[in-house]
Symmetry: C2
DNA sequence: GCCCTAGTATTGGCCGGACCAAATTGGTCC
DNA sequence: GGACCAATTTGGTCCGGCCAATACTAGGGC
């Protein structure tokens, strides 16, 4: 592995917290104790704990560090949450797709008005590549990913870009299998064609409608695949913290 | 100030990066040099830099730390960005409101279907309090804030909650004036009443429509107030990095 | 019995110096 | 000009130690 000591310690602690080994309100072991437990220097533990704090999983102050409830965490806990079990939690994936969908529609809407001609062309080129039948699955994911990013960029909305990027990072943080699961199968060529037309005529309504259709289709595919995989018993759901409040 | 050394150093470095003192691709001064510059121990500097890394403003690896482009940053840079000048950047605020609006609509939509009766009651109680004419401005902001949080909770969508929470934190990270600027003036009682009715009958369409109206109104108010304040010359915009790409 | 207070042990924040491995840098040789 | 190698710089980690703030506990007042 290419991880530094404090990174792997942070990962381990994150995992323990998310699995409920330490519950909200609990005190985390002291830095000195963790240092002893992991056989590292206290400074190294401090860096690991710093990351937990940034993740919003723990609040640390003189006297001790306490675990925070999941609802007060940072967006970046989603990655670890997805990686908690063999298979990502279907409910969480559904929630992510719901949000992504809403954000993409806003982005598309604004993109149609604000994008430069060059940006539109770039997007259309990506769509053209997606319509190539001889595309490998990994390439397809990659291009889709770039297309999504392109829409965000075209919207000119920094907040939108940052959120979308953060969500994407969470997906790619885990193993590649998770990423390929979350990106569904292939797209219907009809939709790609419609999207291309919407782009060339800068028709915002058409773009949003097509996006809606394509995303809905994708969402169904992904969730079906996920549930099927879960049913196959691959997803060992060993009682981690409930997602719904 | 109640800030630890590494926090204030992190804030200072963040500010310098966002102002363009260090540009994307630049190497940050070495830990040893920064330690000397701030007159602190290297470990303290390391903790500060760790935060920059978490903010997505710098990528650090043996050989040196490099500054990253704003587009690759974390959502949490929005707080520092808002606090960069006396007055928050109007364009950024507009972008935030746009995203918030979209998220709120998704939340309301889902909330109408999934919320428990108790949760609906809680939301309605908050609305009732908002309709009280004798409400101080700070209280109003506080209750609005709680109402937004309540909608997110009712949606049962963790991703939605985390994003909304992160955005809210960014607003409240700076001084209270920023927060009060971003929350507009008062609400039209008509809308509050309509929202109450939508809640009691669990009418998702009505809820979303009302939300749309109230948010649009609020957005106009906020942006007008902001632009007016900017025009008064309070917003010293000393050439920080451009937001739009 | 319960609540409040004072004192002590514990904990995080920070310091100084040190060693190693990876990356950068600058010079050399082709 | 470009490829190659050694010296230097830089981040990752370790050790041991001091201080101030917090948590815990024992004692006193009710």
């Amino acid at each position: 592995m290419n991880e530094t000591r404090h990174e792997s310690i942070a990962d381990e602690l994150t995992d323990e917290i998310l699995r409920g080994r330490y519950r909200p309100g609990d005190r985390l072991p002291s830095e000195r104790e963790l240092a002893a437990r992991y056989g590292v220097n206290r400074g190294t533990v401090r860096e690991a704990i710093k990351k937990l704090e940034q993740l919003g999983l723990a609040h640390v102050l003189p006297g001790g560090a306490r675990v925070l409830p999941l609802e007060e965490a940072s967006l970046d806990v989603i990655g670890p949450l997805l990686a908690l079990n063999e298979l990502p939690d279907a409910q969480l994936v559904e929630q992510m797709l719901t949000v992504m969908s809403a954000l993409m529609k806003v982005a598309a809407q604004q993109a149609m008005h604000r994008a430069s001609d060059e940006q539109i062309d770039t997007a259309r080129a990506l769509i053209a590549r997606l319509r190539d039948k001889r595309l490998g699955p990994d390439e397809r994911i990659q291009i889709r990913h770039e297309l999504g990013r392109q829409f965000m960029t075209m919207s000119g909305n920094l907040v939108l870009m940052l959120i979308a990027r953060a969500l994407r990072m969470q997906i790619f943080a885990g193993d590649a299998r998770t990423a390929s699961l979350i990106h569904g199968a292939d797209d219907q060529d009809v939709y790609l064609q419609r999207m291309d037309e919407a782009l060339s005529s800068r028709d915002a309504d058409a773009a949003v409608a097509t996006l809606q259709a394509v995303i809905d289709l994708n969402q169904r595919q992904v969730l079906n695949a996920l549930r099927a995989a879960h049913a196959n018993g691959n997803g060992v759901d060993d009682g981690h913290r409930k997602l719904a409040s």
